[in-house]
Point group: C2
Chain length 143, copies 2
């Protein structure tokens, strides 16, 4: 018989889930940003990605390599970066969730600038269930 100390849903599981979400967070940010760059300027160059992410250029290069390994992007040396179908689909989902989090935060009274800052970290940990709840809350409130 296990102990089941504090929080109801197994504490270790909660932490494990948070760790897992975190490992995907960076990929989600990159995919969203690459999608934005392509939409804005027609292409996503490593230098632009690095600049917008606020990291050194080799860091961006390395992460793009990981995106390739994960099947989210393609790229040829000295050329731009492109999203695969999976990458584009992820970008779309991530962008929608990002905006929803910002809207929810503002709806409960968080100033816009703060909402944009905090959303950057929060979004990656919002589950489908929570996202649906946010959507319903916003709809009821202003719909």
């Amino acid at each position: 018989m296990p102990e089941e100390h504090a929080g109801s849903p197994n504490e270790a599981d909660r932490f494990a889930r948070a760790r897992e979400k975190q490992s995907l967070a960076l990929l989600e940010d990159y995919v969203e940003l690459i999608g934005d760059l392509i939409a804005e300027t027609g292409e996503a160059r490593v230098a632009d990605i690095a600049n917008r992410m606020g990291v050194a250029q080799p860091t961006a290069t390395k992460t793009v390599a990981r995106l390739r390994r994960e099947g989210l992007a393609t790229s040829r040396p000295y050329r731009g970066v492109f999203l695969t179908d999976a990458g584009a689909a992820l970008a779309t989902r991530v962008r929608a969730r990002h905006h929803m989090v910002i809207e929810l935060l503002m709806a409960v009274g968080v100033p816009a600038a703060t909402a944009e800052f905090d959303a950057e970290g929060i979004e990656h940990h919002v589950s489908e269930t929570t996202l649906a709840a946010f959507e319903a809350f916003l709809k009821k409130r202003q719909g």
Copy 2:
């Protein structure tokens, strides 16, 4: 003159802030957990910490060493772990924020179990400003 492409508050700054928050997240989790263990059982042993965090024992040992380096905890070999004043103060703040996030999520319609899961990752990215907004929202709604 900088470009200022997409999001209003400098995008790179947002990412930098999220990375910084993330680097503190693990320490916050450990400090909160150690405080809980001491409150519940009178002491925090490495084995218990590892078990509750869902990691292997050497991982917990290593992180406790980091807590010591950061001035948040003390420990002597083969003995329990204790919080410094700074560690205890952090634990209190973290616990309060954690509960506030769960309450806010439930207040906007997220099921309790989901709220507890998602809060584990979300809490670390909630700023003081956002926390205050949550508090005001809850007060107005049910106070």
